[in-house]
């Protein structure tokens, strides 16, 4: 049972929502603070104007968000799955940059299909080889992308 008042309200609020509101408040403050470095102009209409308007609006909205009770149940986030996917993508980009398209794509597709999607090894090899060939034809031969 939630008590009356701001502090009980904030304590009751979902952790993720609180973090987001506070992060946005800090972010909007940083946006505004950064504008002091921008050059001034005549009649205050210059590079500072629009970012300052945005920072003020974002600050006010984030403050409002902090005090809104969002009853909707938010979906669970599988952070492990997300991090693994992001790391595999970064790995693909780094290998692509340091080797070539074929090597990086074979590694990426096989890791994804066999390691993440749990496709059986024969199917993984088949899809990886046919897929890499098809992508090579599309990107490097037909579209002539310099990879």
């Amino acid at each position: 049972m939630r008590g009356k008042g701001i502090i009980p309200f904030l304590l009751h609020m979902k952790k993720g929502e609180k973090i987001i509101s506070v992060t946005l408040l800090i972010f909007s403050t940083l946006i505004y603070a950064n504008t002091f470095k921008f050059p001034s102009s005549i009649e205050n209409i210059g590079p500072k104007f629009f970012p300052r308007m945005i920072a003020i609006l974002l600050f006010l909205l984030s403050l409002l968000l902090l005090f809104i009770d969002n009853e909707k149940k938010l979906k669970h986030i599988n952070y492990k799955c997300l991090v693994i996917n992001v790391l595999i993508i970064i790995g693909y980009i780094l290998i692509l940059n340091n080797t070539n398209f074929i090597v990086s794509t074979i590694l990426f597709l096989f890791t994804y299909l066999y390691g993440i999607s749990k496709v059986n090894i024969k199917k993984s090899i088949l899809i990886t080889s046919c897929g890499t060939a098809m992508l090579y034809i599309v990107f490097l031969i037909l579209l002539k992308i310099p990879l």
């Binding site: 993720g16 929502e17 987001i20 946005l24 946006i31 950064n34 921008f38 050059p39 102009s41 005549i42 009649e43 205050n44 209409i45 210059g46 590079p47 104007f49 629009f50 970012p51 945005i54 609006l57 974002l58 909205l61 984030s62 409002l64 968000l65 809104i68 969002n70 909707k72 938010l74 979906k75 986030i77 599988n78 799955c81 997300l82 996917n85 992001v86 993508i89 970064i90 693909y92 980009i93 692509l96 940059n97 794509t105 990426f108 597709l109 994804y112 299909l113 993440i116 999607s117 496709v119 899809i127 897929g131 992508l135 990107f139 579209l143 002539k144 992308i145 310099p146 990879l147």
Partner: protein, 491 residues
Amino acid sequence: MSVLNEILSQVLGNMDIAYFIILIAGVLCGLIIGALPGFTATMGVALFVPFSYSMNVQHAFAFLIGLYCSAVYAGSIPAILIRTPGTPAAIATINDGYPMAQKGNAGQALGLACYASVFGGILSAIILMIVAKYIAQAALKFGPQEYFSLAILGLSMVLSMSGKNMIKGLISMTLGLFITVIGMDIISGYPRYTFGNVNLLSGVQLLPVMIGVFAISEVFEGIMKEQKNEKVKQKLENIVTSVKYLFKNISLVLKSSILGTFLGALPGVGAVTASFIGYNEAVRTSKKPKEMGTGRPEGILGPESANNAVTGGALIPLLSLGIPGDPVTAILLGALMIQGLRPGPQLFAKNPEVVFGIYASVIFSYVAILVISLIGIRYIAKIIEIRSTYLYPFILIFCIIGSYALQNSYFDIYVALIFGIIGFFMRRYDFPLGPFTLAMILGSIIEEKLLISLSLSKGSFLTFIQRPISATLLLITFIVVILSLKKKKIR
């Protein structure tokens, strides 16, 4: 008639067999993307736009328009067969499409969706051809004040896109506006929020952000869901003969198509809203309203004609004013800019063949959709059975290579990935993506036109209400805001 003559002479003169092959390829890609739940028309267009750089303009738009139109239609296939919309625009079709399929009339339902989509799409293309030229001519009188006010009107649609949580919608919008200020200031050239990174001097590119937000985040979302192995069990018969219901309900289809076109032309409204309005129109005008939701033909004809009519409608503000009506047309704006073209009145004057090529692509796409669907819907429906887990790595590769291909830059890939992560969290925490992308599209127009207007008027904000067109647009904005707030209060 003169518009038709112009199209025929400009377009047919520039078409070759490659044009039609590429158009059909786009339609087929769109059918696959639209039919697969979890993949959207926006994602499809975002994935393929970077590759359009290597094609000539006519071919590029033949592919992209074909993909766009067919993806919006194909979302109805899984909606009818497995009660899961392939694209958000097909949600309303489930109401009567799925019950009709359950009664053993899946083929009839798919046929109705096809006929309605083609009718809506072609009618919207005809309205586009008639109206766009006049709006472009009127826009020649627009100064920076009018463009600013029009962009603000577009931004006010955020309130209707935000759903239940208006604050989160406005926050998404503000974050989108912030992205547009990164880079060199248009007037003074001062680098803002670049932190010394030369890659950010020209700002954050729209296309990698779109790829991240609409494609990569969608893949992350899909990976987290439990995969169901869906099988298409229904027999697909009476597909072609379902056209009789189209003629029996012609006034509904006509009204929904016109409504869809109009809604598509309003920035920020989109195919989802249009499909629900089309469905409401079907309920309102049905001879058996109590049977709606049990498999009535009008329950498919209404939403499907409306959502596909949006495709032509959304091209009206894009081509005539250079202001996109929805995320897909924002991406198409990017595609035009890749080709060195800027939509708006100048496009009609300097590159009419591009404009007429786009008109023709919309019409030919719907003709191709009709033919391919009536012949091959049984095979297209099988696409639903493909496990998405097989496709995700390929989608990611398309995202990565597509982001790279824009400027041959690895930086853009990281931008796409970062926005993929941001987009994923925005979805999870219920921050709508529509306002974010709309603000990204309109933000740079707003700032540029605001600063130019204020420097012309020596800092006076009265300039926006002293000009009649600008004042009218701002008045309409005010009315839209009041109505949206009132509607939220009633809810």
